[in-house]
């Protein structure tokens, strides 16, 4: 029995990756949930918005790298992030003006807006592929590791190595900062309060003189920032490929729904619930069990509950369970 090694293996393969992935999902789900709360529809174009934001940031990163700018150990993409956010915000505001606002004035049913967002999803997807192509793009630079396996082993004398990549650390730190800013904004500023009021009760909010167009515009800007940050962090941590972002739609929506659509806190909790279940169910537990088992026994198989190819199934099953037993999500969401 070797508790310390087991703990290190668990941290290395489950806790750190799941926390980073959970943070990315939470940021994505926050965007979905904000749109649902304020604009009252499920935005299927969100995955591709993330891809677009990440793409602009990548292009800006390459430009900065070409000029010789660098952040030392941190990836240059951080410097390019504001550019990505601004361009994405402009795109979303433009889409809203040209496409969504028409249906808002008509007071169209939410499902019509969902179908419209499907059209926008196609267009954004096409746009991203047109500009940057459908292939993998690498744009990370700077130091790759905060802790690498060998240093950790030498430092602690344990058999098991611990890897903590810069992108993972960055993801977690950024997510915390972004969430703190968002909650401060929603709870303590006048605009944020007006957004919450609009989300809770549109009629009362309008009566008390809140300008709906302003609320909507600010929502899109915040969503652009969240989507770009989430997309860039995911791209830094894993890889940038337009199609993967489209596939992220399912876990992101699962997170938002599990937490309760319309509830920002729920989106964060949902993101971590989904990420931790995905990683624990698809992790091969053989190593940890071998360390923990008294004596010299090791399991025959990998002790993997499900192969990683079925990770979608995990988010799906959790989604279904939550919907069946608590249809409005963990934190009471809203229903249009």
């Amino acid at each position: 029995m070797d508790l310390l090694n087991a703990l290190v293996a668990l941290t290395n393969f489950v806790i750190i990756p799941a926390t980073a992935y959970g943070a990315q999902l939470a940021l994505g789900a926050l965007g979905v949930t904000l749109i649902y709360g304020i604009l009252r529809f499920s935005n299927f174009a969100h995955g591709d918005t993330m891809a677009f934001g990440a793409m602009v940031t990548i292009l800006a990163t390459w430009w900065l790298q070409g000029m010789g700018v660098s952040l030392g150990p941190l990836p240059t993409a951080l410097l390019a992030l504001p550019i990505g956010i601004v361009v994405t915000a402009l795109l979303l505001l433009g889409t809203d003006r040209v496409i969504y606002s028409f249906y808002r004035e008509q007071k169209a049913k939410p499902v019509v807006l969902v179908i419209v967002s499907m059209g926008v999803m196609f267009m954004m997807n096409g746009l991203v592929r047109f500009i940057i192509g459908p292939d993998d793009q690498r744009f990370d630079d700077g130091a790759r590791f905060i802790i690498n396996a060998r240093d950790f082993r030498e430092m602690t004398g344990l058999d098991e190595g611990l890897v903590f990549r810069t992108s993972q650390g960055l993801t977690i730190v950024t997510a915390v900062i972004v969430c703190a800013l968002l909650f401060w904004f929603l709870n303590h500023t006048r605009t944020g309060k007006s957004m919450r009021a609009y989300s809770d009760n549109e009629d009362l909010a309008l009566l008390s003189g809140i300008n709906p167009e302003r609320v909507v515009a600010i929502t899109w800007i915040i969503v652009a920032a969240l989507a770009t940050v989430a997309g860039v962090l995911y791209g830094l941590d894993k890889t940038f490929k337009p199609f993967t972002y489209f596939q992220l739609l399912l876990p992101i929506f699962a997170s938002a729904i599990v937490g309760g659509l319309g509830s920002p806190l729920g989106a964060i909790v949902g993101g971590f619930v989904i990420a931790f279940s995905e990683v624990t169910v698809t992790y091969a537990w053989k190593k940890v069990i071998t360390y923990l088992w008294p004596g010299d026994w090791a399991p025959d198989g990998l002790v993997q509950l499900l192969s990683t190819d079925y990770k979608f199934a995990v988010s799906f099953v959790i989604l279904v369970i939550v919907l069946l037993f608590r249809p409005t999500g963990i934190f009471k969401g809203k229903a249009v």
């Binding site: 529809f41 499920s42 496409i99 028409f102 939410p110 499902v111 019509v112 969902v114 179908i115 419209v116 499907m118 059209g119 926008v120 999803m121 196609f122 267009m123 954004m124 997807n125 096409g126 746009l127 592929r129 047109f130 500009i131 192509g133 459908p134 199609f243 489209f246 596939q247 739609l249 399912l250 929506f253 699962a254 729904i257 659509l261 198989g301 509950l305 192969s307 190819d309 079925y310 979608f312 199934a313 988010s315 799906f316 989604l319 279904v320 919907l323 069946l324 249809p327 229903a335 249009v336």
Partner: protein, 434 residues
């Protein structure tokens, strides 16, 4: 202009466009568009049943289409006797155990009194059942996949005529739809959407990874065909003599004959389904469905069982998509799970339904043909456009190369643009519901 005239004109226009591409490129291309157009029209019919009649938001079309494709393999391919001997029984036993576990869990949930004991009992049944299932199932899978993995490595099919696979594909899809509908219907529309999106991804993941079932990403190729092979036609003296007498090159004629034969089969299926759909839509049942769609509360007050009717139409529509999926795999002659993509098989079908006119069967069929034609046609046109745009640029400039290389991705953008434009300016589609 009466609505009927409008529909006839629109159909004439679309077929005129397809014939035009026949003159401009080749009849092979045009017939290819017609064949896939027929299949797309059937998929659109299925989605139209769910969305147009009943207002159900299903974005898992790809999953049902893929299940139809699986049916083509399970029915059409010859059985692999060796694999059956190696692990067939174990596989079946494992699957039965899995199903029994789920059934036992549901029974326990329904029978026991509410409380912590019940939750624990259900959890225990599921956990124990899962490990028993894996213990029986995994070795059998290993045994089956070890049988000549380069050529088979799967159980094979039943070796029946491939046409049998079409209704079977519908049945498979219907079964899956029943399971999904039982859990997810009755939830809000966005939830149903996400649930169907998820199930489609899972079905594709199963097809990709369960090699014993359909060889996974190793693909099943050489499915039997319901029509003659081109080579056989070219070797048939009677065929060559007749084509030569008509003054047509026998090689080109053989591939056109094969495509025409497929088209004939597809037209029969489409005609039957369209006739049935029209009958259903104009029956009391169809009116009830539309009443439920337009006002669920009122329909419920009239004593209609909304959830049951939703389940019914969800199953029917998915079955139609399954049939189309089996037909498509038959046409391709191979099952390639890696090629199923939601944009192509779910969302494009949605574009067809919306553009054609949701709630109108002829609209869905028209949308199927038109959007498929555009899907095929936009790519070469996009390239021509890009060549025109870049003609003034210097050869070898990176922008020119990039624009030319990216032209292929234009079509997603165009499809989205068409969808958004139709929703904005003609939200009821080209042939609106009557």
């Amino acid at each position: 202009m009466t609505p009927n005239m409008r529909a006839i004109l629109l159909f004439a226009l679309v077929f005129g466009l397809i014939i035009l591409s026949g003159f401009e490129r080749s009849w092979n291309v045009a017939l290819g568009i017609v064949n896939m157009g027929l299949i797309s029209a059937i998929m659109a019919l299925g989605v139209n049943m769910q969305w147009g009649y009943a207002g159900l938001f299903n974005i898992g079309v790809m999953g049902f289409v893929a299940l139809g494709g699986l049916a083509a393999v399970l029915v059409g391919m010859p059985p692999v006797a060796e694999a059956w001997a190696a692990g067939g029984l174990g596989l079946l036993a494992g699957l039965a155990l899995g199903a029994a576990t789920i059934a036992a869990a549901i029974m326990t949930w329904k029978r026991m009194a509410k409380g912590r004991t019940r939750a624990l009992a259900v959890a225990a049944i599921l956990v124990v059942g899962f490990f028993v299932f894996r213990a029986v199932f995994d070795p059998a899978v290993g045994a089956v996949e070890a049988v000549n993995p380069a050529a088979t490595g799967y159980l094979g099919g039943l070796g029946l005529p491939i046409l049998v696979a079409w209704p079977v594909g519908g049945l498979l899809a219907a079964g899956a739809a029943w399971a999904i509908g039982k859990t997810a219907l009755g939830l809000r529309s966005d939830y149903l959407a996400i649930a169907t999106l998820g199930i489609a991804e899972i079905i594709i993941a199963v097809l990709k990874n369960e090699d014993w079932l359909g060889r996974g990403v190793k693909n099943v190729i050489g499915l039997p065909r319901p029509v003659p092979y081109e080579v056989d036609l070219q070797n048939s003296d009677a065929f060559v003599a007749r084509m030569s007498a008509w003054g047509i090159d026998p090689v080109a004629a053989s591939s056109i004959t094969v495509k025409l034969a497929y088209a004939g089969l597809f037209v029969v299926v489409l005609a039957i389904l369209l006739w049935l759909s029209q009958k259903a839509l104009n029956s009391p049942w169809g009116r009830m469905m539309r009443a439920i769609r337009d006002n669920e509360v009122a329909a419920e007050a009239m004593g209609k069982d909304v959830t049951r009717r939703h389940l019914q139409i969800f199953i029917l529509g998915s079955a139609v998509c399954g049939i189309a999926g089996a037909m498509m795999t038959t046409l391709d002659g191979q099952l390639t799970p890696g090629t199923y993509q939601p944009l192509r098989f779910t969302f494009l079908v949605w574009v067809m339904v919306i553009v054609g006119g949701s709630g109108n069967n002829f609209g869905a069929v028209l949308g199927g043909f038109l959007v498929w034609y555009l899907w095929v046609e936009v790519e070469p046109r996009g390239r021509e456009l890009m060549e025109f745009v870049t003609s003034g640029m210097a050869d070898g400039s990176w922008l020119k190369a990039h624009l030319l290389a990216s032209a292929a991705h234009m079509r997603l953008f165009i499809m989205g643009l068409i969808l958004v434009l139709v929703l904005r300016f003609s939200p009821r589609g080209l042939i609106p519901e009557g």
